[in-house]
Symmetry: C2
Subunit: 190 residues, 2 copies
């Protein structure tokens, strides 16, 4: 059991030992619940056919919801990014989760990220695609590659904005972000 | 001397005493240099007639430079913001320093910020005005007020971009900033 607990990220031999003894001595019910939920997840968790997010059903509740705006499709790297987008409560469209980012050195290319499924999806359900990959080198490269791919199919593609954070002051921001904020300034039309 | 040193921000009675003894016992030359530079600054430092920044000349070196792009005028709140903009090395236009922001409760209005001088300047030298006030409540209010004012004169006005910082990941950003980044997304045109 101690050896098995070490599969958890950030859990070394000492922590694993402490966890094991805690479960056995104090919380056998919790151990059983954990065992069942792990079993359930590992057996039943699959990828949603539409958004590629983890889901227990073939189509996840979010994709199946009739209350979402089907005219927008937001592409994110990871399920955690989808959760962040949902927390903003301003986006009501659908999602596509890449489960990664282009990273040729790690052998992660267009095939591993299911770009073909994304292309097929927008071909059958035309919509605006919002690229919300991270503003890291790999995230930017992924966005650029996807933009080229999607635009060649005549699909409207946009990228979430780069610039100063809300509440941000010029003095506290790094020079690179400020430079981008100037380059990507928006004309004000009242 | 101890009492006089306390006019420096963040210097209390103890620090002032330490500073005074240090200067008298160890660094009389430094004390003299400081006295001269304070005298010089307090006597000669004025506001540049063009950009309103601190300057020893009637027109500051930056405004007088022939290498700046006169088709762009960046409005910032404070001299420190101007320095930040210069550090980006991507902006080569001119500046106007408000020396504050609209703050009616503190009695700071359009008059105190010299909006009339700004208006006169863009009337005689038409250019694009880039509003680079902070993304705080007061900074935003100032930008909005200025945009209305300048656009009624037919001047092109833009605002630096709001969004995710360079290198930023969705997971680490606050919900407000992410919401703005989605609202202000840019269509990609290759």
């Amino acid at each position: 059991m101690i050896a098995a607990l070490r599969c958890l990220p950030g859990v070394g031999p000492k922590s694993a030992q402490r966890m094991a003894y805690h479960l056995l001595q104090r919380d056998r019910a919790g151990a059983l619940r954990l065992a069942h939920s792990l079993l359930n997840a590992a057996t039943n968790m699959q990828h949603c056919q539409q958004c590629n997010n983890f889901s227990e059903q073939a189509v996840c509740p979010l994709c199946a919801s009739p209350h979402r705006d089907v005219s927008m499709l937001c592409v994110v790297e990871m399920p955690a990014d989808l959760l962040m987008m949902e927390q903003t409560q301003c986006y009501r469209g659908l999602y596509f989760v890449l489960m990664g980012r282009l990273s040729p050195l790690d052998g992660i290319g267009a095939k591993e990220l299911h770009f073909d499924r994304l292309l097929k999806r927008v071909a059958t359900h035309p919509c605006e695609v919002i690229l919300a990959t991270n503003f890291t080198v790999e995230g930017d490269a992924t966005a650029h590659y996807l933009a080229t791919l999607l635009q060649s199919q005549g699909i409207k593609v946009s990228r979430i904005a780069r610039g100063l954070p809300v509440g941000g002051e010029l003095e506290q921001v790094d020079a690179g972000t400020l430079a981008q904020a100037v380059l990507e300034r928006r004309e004000i039309t009242l």
